[in-house]
């Protein structure tokens, strides 16, 4: 039998606010244990929560970005369960009426366009952390993270492979960073996914029993965990066994999932409206204010790149994979200020995804940390566009830019890298090369195209790479063909 895998994701995006969702404690990562856990966060008797407006602003931004409904009135509820990293014995979350309902996320997998529908996105607080290092057989509890705002984004079970799930997660990850609601730092747990996985016979319209894989904090783990889990479920079913609804954990070392709790052991969370928090009301003005502050979204930016700048779908998509890249590209393009924006745009894309990406990769730097600013790269691009630099020279100039030797023009000046475009000078070089290599000239005339390329190389070498290659080609061919 052939099987279809069905996946839905619940993603927790930590909202990048300064203070916590219900208290005035700082949210900065990496502080010494419990130094950012205030009276409210450690749930002292008598303390009360007050909602952070910035967390709501960010939830609204998300709702607008995914084309969802922003609920005019949403309710905070208590999710009750005991755990040492949950100081109140309940998590403040949203249950019946979340702040955001519906919406969708579109992306491409291979050559296919895919849209995953969203069920909802709701605001909630994060829990603290249990540290399992041995303290005389005890666990240590750090509540610094307790109360950090989260947006839980719940998708419909619309994905059919681990690849689709990863593509969805990557798109969502880029989006939350693009609209600046989450720093997306997966190592620090700022963006993590739970995957609901089930399988069913191909063609069936019934959902199989799902198991939920908790806390996947890298795309690689997401991929491996779903692959393992789906295979496991298929094996079980093919052996005639049933899948029992359960929550499982992924062990990255073994690349396996293991049972955490079954449905029978599932919590009875006893959700009810939090009496300490009145309904959250969001009016039209509030939504419009946020809408006015929204950046152009990745999809819109991509289609603009394709239609206005004639970039390929692939190039445009690579630019909008991250807000930093797209903004960097725009900054370079506008600084060049060229007449032929289409040719310039393509050239910029090649430089960003070629030399710049390679250099950043070697140095293990993010684009935001690049020593070559958008203005600096624009200086280089301008000199390529006006034929001052050949691509070979441009690489040398780029090297100078990377090393901080100044602007492109300064480097050209300092290193004496101006391209030779003077026809007389090039003719002279060509004549010298032909005189020194009569055999190759003969070979070319005998029909060996290779010989021509060798001659071009000789001329370029003689010019120390500065001759304009197009002119070299043209003059050399003319000389060879004319005698």
């Amino acid at each position: 039998m052939s099987w279809e895998i069905v996946i839905g994701l619940e993603t927790h995006a930590q909202l990048s606010t300064r203070s916590k969702i219900f208290s005035g404690a700082a949210t900065a990562f990496g502080a010494p244990p419990n130094t950012q856990a205030c009276a409210v966060d450690i749930a002292l008797p008598g303390v009360l929560p007050v909602l952070n407006v910035e967390a709501v602003d960010k939830a609204i931004r998300f709702g607008i970005a995914v084309g969802a409904t922003i609920n005019r009135r949403s309710i905070f509820a208590r999710k009750n369960y005991f755990y040492p990293d949950l100081p109140k014995g309940y998590q403040i979350s949203q249950y019946e009426i979340p702040v955001v309902s519906g919406g969708g996320v579109a992306f491409r997998v291979g050559n296919t366009e895919k849209t995953v529908r969203l069920v909802r996105a709701h605001l909630e607080e994060d829990a603290g952390k249990s540290l399992h290092e041995d303290f005389h057989g005890m666990s240590g509890i750090d509540l610094n993270r307790a109360g950090t705002p989260l947006l839980e984004i719940v998708s419909e079970p619309d994905m059919r492979s681990a690849e689709e799930a990863v593509a969805y997660a990557r798109t969502l990850h880029a989006l939350v960073r693009w609209i600046e609601i989450c720093d997306g730092n997966m190592q620090e747990g700022s963006f993590r996914c739970d995957a609901n996985v089930s399988v069913r016979p191909e063609g069936s319209d019934q959902l199989g029993t799902r198991r939920e894989i908790k806390n996947l904090n890298s795309f690689r783990f997401l991929q491996h965990a779903i692959d393992y889990e789906a295979n496991w479920q298929i094996e079980q079913l093919e052996e005639g066994k049933c899948i029992e609804q359960a929550t499982v954990l992924f062990d990255p070392d073994k690349a396996q999932t293991r049972l955490m709790r079954t449905k029978e052991e599932a919590h009875d969370y006893r959700y009810f409206p939090d009496p300490d928090l009145l309904p959250l009301e969001i009016d039209e003005d509030w939504i419009e204010r946020i809408r006015a502050q929204m950046p152009e979204l990745p999809a819109a930016r991509q289609s603009r790149y394709q239609s206005d700048l004639a970039l390929s779908q692939h190039d445009a998509a690579s630019l909008v994979a991250g807000r930093e890249v797209a903004d960097y590209f725009d900054a370079v393009l506008s600084a060049v200020g060229a007449d032929d924006t289409k040719a310039t745009a393509k050239l910029i894309v090649n430089w960003i995804s070629g030399e710049l990406a390679a250099a950043l990769n070697r140095a293990e730097l993010e684009l935001s940390e690049s020593p070559v600013t958008a203005a600096a790269l624009a200086g280089l691009i301008s000199r390529i566009m006006d034929n001052t630099l050949s691509s070979k020279l441009a690489k040398e100039v780029f090297d100078g830019l990377w090393k901080g030797e100044g602007s492109a023009d300064e480097i050209i000046e300092k290193r004496g890298l101006t391209q030779i475009s003077d026809s007389n000078a090039i003719e002279k070089l060509v004549e010298e090369v032909l005189a020194a290599n009569p055999q190759q000239a003969t070979d070319y005339r005998g029909g060996k195209q290779k010989a021509f390329n060798a001659l071009v190389g000789q001329v370029m070498k003689a010019s120390k790479g500065k001759a304009n290659p197009a002119q070299v080609n043209e003059i050399l061919r003319r000389k060879l063909d004319s005698c």
């Binding site: 749930a43 002292l44 008797p45 009360l48 929560p49 005991f82 006893r270």
Partner: protein, 488 residues
Amino acid sequence: MIDSSLKQLSADLAARKISSVELTRAYLDRIESNNAAINAFITIDPDASLRQAQAADKRIARGDAQPLTGIPVAHKDIWCAKGWRTTCGSRMLENFRSPYDAHVIERFNAAGAVILGKTNMDEFAMGSSNENSWFGPVKNPWDTEYVPGGSSGGSAAAVAAALAPAATGTDTGGSIRQPAALCGVSGLKPTYGVVSRYGMIAFASSLDQGGPLARSSEDLALLLDTMAGFDARDSTSLERPPEAYTRRLDEPLAGLRIGLPKEYFGEGISADVRKSVEDAIDEYRKLGATTVDIRLPASDLSVPAYYVIAPAEASSNLARYDGVRYGYRAESYDNLLDMYCKTRAQGFGSEVKRRILVGTYVLSHGYYDAYYLQAQRIRRLIARDFAQAFEQCDVIVSPTSPSTAFRIGERTADPVKMYLSDIFTIAANLAGLPGMSIPCGLDAAGLPVGLQIIGNYFTETRMLNVANVYQKQTDWHLRRSPIASNSS
């Protein structure tokens, strides 16, 4: 001094006839001599109190005193006060020294009042007799065989025994008004949202409201001026223009319309209570008020709805007492789950556990709609009843409690019988309305009877006026319990 009103004490302090240190020491002496008989205080800290008194005296000398500067006030042990042991009447918090001040404590401190001590209470404010305290029952100063009411029983008894000139309490289903009635003092539960709940240990968050207990409504007004006020740290605290609760105390009552709910004068009220309340109503008629018969048809459902909503909220509010960050932790346990279960089994008393179990049950899967949602719908019916009633009257008057104080131990075996002690007070909490109780008589055994006054939202000033004019004509609030008559 012991018989002086707060206003008088304030005037005497300002005139330097007495010092705050003398006044505070006098009350500390009275506590020293008499507390053993009634067990009204859980904690006193004479050094801390006298330090505040000294500071108050300096402030008075500097000339920037406020009305409560230098006045000792006893606080229900539900209010977190920095450096003070704050137990909430529970073994769970027996050794909990609060690292912060409640908003109300901040306000009293800012006004220059002196914290006289922390008063006994039913554990986590759950009870109507003060028999549910880990620190032992409080006894009624009028007769120590009898309960003082609860849950603010320590505060009511302290004022009734003249161990404090004034006290604070909290009221979730009658916990200020019922003990005020049973101890013959005055008590006020303001409109929900008027007094900040920040630092007040939560029982049922949507019902809890702090308020004052004192001898007279004039004293209550003075105390409320300090207690009430907006607090940004409580999301349910209401932003309203400041109110001077003392400003209308003496306005004549001519034209006042008093609503008498049929449902609050039915069977089950003791004859003495009925007589005293009817006499009080007659007194009001003499003062120019008219009475209107009104209906509150959903009132018989207030106790059932309350015993769903309050335990549900409590079951969640009390989940934080897990032995991890503060408070009691069981001595021995096998693992984490066992630590939770033993800590909570040993740290909570039986009534608290009972309510947590009821609350957990009504919120659990499959029962939420039938219990919790149904209770919330009935809550709205009750609020609507009041809204309609207040179209016909200015205040509603009734007995505070169907009977006077009962004997210690009399109702402990039957929780439901105990719950019905609050039958007339609970509805105001469900609706969020202000309510007060003032003394209006003594029964045949010489135990006090309380008159309840329920007002519309934010009409505390008018209610205090209604109470004060009555108290100017009568002397029930000036009657003293035997213990109050003990010289020191």
